[in-house]
């Protein structure tokens, strides 16, 4: 059995662990600490935790000020409110001066489920990617999330990390170490490459397994850093496989798919197909039902890969 872990749980635990060692870390939340799991840090270090109430814009501005004052603020809320409600505060007060604020947004994508469209961020990566100075990361599982939180502290500057509500399969080995700006090949193959992030990495691996039975050798790349994007791994995949499928729990506009397609188009044009939310809003339903409805299941990925291979 694959282990299932919620990346937000790992975030909360890791933050509390690091907080014990690094006294410069301060944490802000906007009345969602029980959901974002910053409440673990809050319990251990109440004097370094600031609940700002339901005021995301104020939270981001305050985080900017704390960073200007030499602290390392982590600001958390749901992805839609972090990236949407406080976008211009992030752009102006955090990213423009390149302040050292770590925004860890939980409940990204449609796997938020029953709450529906108002709570399902499908544009957050696009919004954050467009801001100069911003680094954008979407870890694929619990193991990677832990490493991501450790690594982004070593980097001095604004980072947006998207984690998820649901429990997802662990795909990375226990000893895996995340490197900011680097993708990783999690399965090698020659006929096509799936470049994915978040939950879609495990779905891509399943798809590759299905396709192997049909005689296709599929490479799977975990592209956890979307910005700055790992150009080399994309060019290599283009050269060696000749067809790329991107897959993300995000709109096909402005996310991983566009980032990868741009690199391929500029450096080594091959067939690129983008799987994601096809420019539509989410809706209520169970996470699994929505993944089926929005065609983000392993079988959908396998179909799309076959199409891409056909067009080579």
């Amino acid at each position: 059995m694959t282990k299932l872990i919620a990346t937000r749980d790992v975030y909360g635990e890791t933050l509390a662990e690091i907080g014990a060692v690094n006294k410069n870390i301060v944490v802000l939340d906007a009345d969602l600490s029980s959901s974002t799991k910053t409440n673990i840090f809050a319990k251990k270090f109440p004097e370094r935790f600031f609940n700002m109430g339901v005021s995301e814009a104020d939270m981001m501005g305050t985080a900017a000020g704390l960073a200007a004052g030499g602290k390392i603020p982590f600001a958390s809320t749901f992805a839609i409110f972090a990236s949407g409600r406080a976008w211009e505060q992030i752009r102006q007060s955090i990213a423009y001066p390149k302040l050292n604020v770590k925004i860890v947004a939980t409940h990204g994508g449609i796997t938020v489920g029953e709450d529906g469209a108002s709570h399902q961020a499908i544009e957050d990566i696009a919004l954050m990617r467009a801001i100069p100075n911003m680094t954008v990361v979407v870890p694929c599982d619990g193991v990677e999330t832990k490493s991501v939180i450790h690594e982004i502290i070593k980097y001095n500057g604004p980072v947006y990390v998207r984690v998820a509500r649901g429990k997802f399969p662990v795909v990375m080995p226990e000893d895996y170490k995340f490197t900011l700006g680097k993708g990783s090949v999690v399965r090698d193959g020659k006929d096509a490459a799936i470049i994915a992030n978040g939950l879609m990495v495990s779905h891509a691996l399943e798809a590759a397994e299905m396709l192997a039975k049909e005689g296709l050798s599929i490479r799977v790349v975990n592209m956890s850093t979307i910005k700055p994007i790992d150009r080399d791994i994309i060019i290599k995949a283009a050269k060696e496989t000749g067809a790329i499928l991107t897959c993300e729990e995000h709109s096909i506009i402005g996310g991983l798919g566009e980032a990868v397609a741009t690199v391929a188009a500029e450096e080594y044009p091959v067939q690129v197909k983008r799987l994601g939310i096809q420019d539509r809003f989410g809706q209520s339903g169970l996470a699994e039902e929505l993944l089926v409805h929005y065609a983000l299941m392993p079988k959908d990925i396998a179909e799309a890969v076959k199409e891409a291979v056909k067009k080579k």
Partner: protein, 283 residues
């Protein structure tokens, strides 16, 4: 003015509470505390004060209601169903894939919903816009809005507070469901909003303070608000989160947690209501 039948309104509030408990238990997710605290206000609006026509949802002369604290959607859905906007059977589909009753109010899916809410702090601005449009069209319709006390922490609420007063929107009557709790705890602990009535007064609103579970006081506030000219009215309604069921009352831990089967059973016992025949049968 029609004379309110207070006893009948109380009965409706009980019905809406039953509906909320049943819906949330069936949906296995959703917001219990803030739906129950608003039950009496919602009953007074839909079954007494608002001019509306469930058979003609876009009737130009209707009064409008904006649920700014959109997570309390179940209580509004219950009222809409009981008024006849759609079959009460729909209540069993709350939050399910393909439902007309989305997790948060959605004007594209649900008859009787005026705007899309769910992101806190945005409702009053939209209510202001609706009120301005009504004024331009020389309509006497009124606009009602319901916000949470935690929601008062959003900056946009105060931007909207300013503009409603600036534009002298006396066709607006807004409520704060002052139940004292938000998600992470008591409002006074998380981010204090007091002195709330002074804030709204300072922003140019006519402010009324009532007990949000006293049907007589709610009805009177609604009637009084209509007589106020030249400024919008804010009704700060003292409520109890989870009102009606002791397991949930005053417990922020039940903000976004639905009643389990056992909790539902105990809730119905406490309310003295049978769920037989739900959702078709009206108690």
């Amino acid at each position: 003015m029609v004379k309110p039948d207070i006893e009948q309104l109380k009965k409706w509030a009980r019905q809406l509470r039953l509906d909320v408990l049943m819906m949330l238990n069936k949906a296995k997710s959703g917001h219990t505390g803030g739906s129950l605290s608003a039950a009496d206000i919602i009953a007074a609006l839909y079954f007494y004060k608002m001019r509306h026509n469930p058979k003609e949802t876009k009737w130009p002369d209707r009064d409008r209601f904006v649920l700014s604290k959109g997570h309390a959607a179940p209580i509004q859905y219950a009222a809409l169903a009981r008024c006849g906007y759609f079959s009460p059977k729909e209540l069993t589909t709350l939050r399910r894939f393909g439902t007309i009753l989305q997790g948060h109010p959605d004007m594209k899916c649900t008859p009787g919903i005026e705007v899309c809410t769910g992101s806190l702090g945005q409702g009053l601005s939209m209510a202001n816009g609706i009120a301005l449009a009504l004024r331009l069209d020389k309509k006497s319709s009124r606009v009602y809005a319901l916000m949470g006390d935690g929601e008062q922490e959003e900056g946009q609420v105060w931007e909207a507070a300013m503009s409603a007063a600036h534009y002298k929107l006396d066709n607006i009557c807004a409520f704060v469901d002052f139940n004292g709790f938000q998600i992470d705890g008591a409002v006074t602990d998380i981010m204090n909003i007091e002195p709330l009535s002074q804030k709204w007064k300072a922003f140019g609103w006519h402010v009324l303070m009532i007990d949000g579970h006293d049907m007589g006081q709610i009805v009177k506030a609604l009637d009084d608000a209509e007589t106020i000219k030249g400024q919008p009215t804010m009704v700060i309604a003292r409520t109890v989160k989870g009102k009606g069921v002791s397991i949930f009352e005053g417990k922020y831990q039940y903000h976004g947690v639905p009643p389990s089967d056992d909790e539902l059973k105990r809730s119905l016992e406490e309310l003295g209501i049978s769920a037989d025949g739900w959702p078709e049968r009206v108690i």
